[in-house]
């Protein structure tokens, strides 16, 4: 399985945290809250589209509302493949951090 990039991992984690209400705006707000930085729509939707094309995410359209100019929300959720990719990413992170933890963080 292809290793997830940092952005892909972040987006997948945000979707998982917000399910079943994970749509673009909510994901952006969640990421701003966690990272302290604003995320443009491009930096959210482009990875979302890529992840869906790779089968790691699935999406469906919600109801349209006048507040959104009659446009509907697109809700995302993790597929089984996406969940497995996240687990693999976590396993890798844990292994890498464990190796560093033995050495500690003091220089010299």
């Amino acid at each position: 399985m292809k290793i997830l990039s940092r952005t892909e991992e972040t987006i997948l984690l945000a979707v998982r945290a917000l399910e079943p209400e994970a749509y673009g705006l909510a994901i952006g707000a969640h990421l701003k809250k966690v990272t302290g930085k604003s995320w443009s729509v491009g930096s959210i939707y482009i990875p979302l589209e890529r992840l869906e094309q790779r089968g790691l995410l699935a999406s469906h359209e919600g109801e349209s509302s006048p507040q959104r100019g009659g446009r509907s929300k697109r809700f995302f959720k993790l597929s089984l493949k996406g969940l497995e990719a996240l687990m693999e990413a976590k396993r890798l992170q844990d292994a890498l951090w464990a190796a560093v933890a033995k050495k500690g963080f003091s220089l010299g």
Binding site: G24, S40, G42, L48, E61, Q67
Partner: protein, 209 residues
């Protein structure tokens, strides 16, 4: 109050079909929220800033996906048949470009080799032109051009266009092979093309002199 129409149009142009409505909806929802909290001016400013921030990434994304689709199309054709649909269209386009210089070359060559009179006999009122041809010069106003130079010029043009077309076909075919597609960057191909053009120039120069 609605978001700035121009910004919406800009956005609509570049957004992928897949998420166009969802993104425009998200933007409009945030616009309404900012308008309520900080006023319409702030909401409009936010919309423009967000549009400008997002457009480059969507433009690049659009180019990347177009390129990938193109490579898949060419790759499929390559795999299916050497003279597939893609090549046929390419050859037809090149043929059209070549038509004019080829016609000029052939007709001037016919004149140069004294086939001119025979041709002009078939065209009523072309005897004046025939006389010019027989002297070996074409008179345009007060200027006269040796026919040989014109033949050489159109011949060189034909050779150049043919060589460039052949390069284009070769490059497309090599790019279509997946093995090369991901190892040779377009910039590298430009260098290869430049070297080939220089070599062609040297070769022609050597042939002529």
């Amino acid at each position: 109050m609605k978001p700035p129409a121009l910004a919406v149009r800009l956005f609509r142009r570049l957004l992928p079909d897949f998420s166009r409505d969802a993104i425009l909806g998200d933007m409009e929802e945030t616009f309404a929220q900012i308008e309520m909290e900080r006023g319409v001016g702030a909401a409009r400013r936010w919309y423009w800033l967000e549009t400008l921030a997002a457009l480059p990434s969507f433009a690049i994304h659009s180019l990347q996906t177009t390129q990938i689709r193109r490579q898949i199309v060419i790759g499929n054709t390559w795999n299916e048949n050497w003279f597939g649909k893609q090549d046929s269209r390419l050859v037809a386009g090149i043929g059209f470009v070549l038509l004019l210089p080829a016609l000029i070359t052939v007709s001037l060559a016919l004149i140069w080799f004294n086939f001119g009179p025979a041709i002009f006999d078939l065209i009523p009122g072309a005897h004046a032109l025939q006389e010019w041809m027989e002297t070996g010069y074409i008179q345009v106003g007060s200027l006269s051009f040796p026919v040989g130079i014109l033949i050489m010029g159109s011949l060189l043009l034909t050779v150049l266009v043919t060589a460039l077309a052949a390069m284009k076909i070769s490059i497309e075919r090599v790019k279509a092979s997946y093995r090369f597609t991901f190892t040779i960057k377009p910039e590298a191909w430009s260098v290869v093309l430049a070297i080939l053009v220089v070599l062609l120039g040297i070769g022609l120069d050597w042939l002529i002199t």
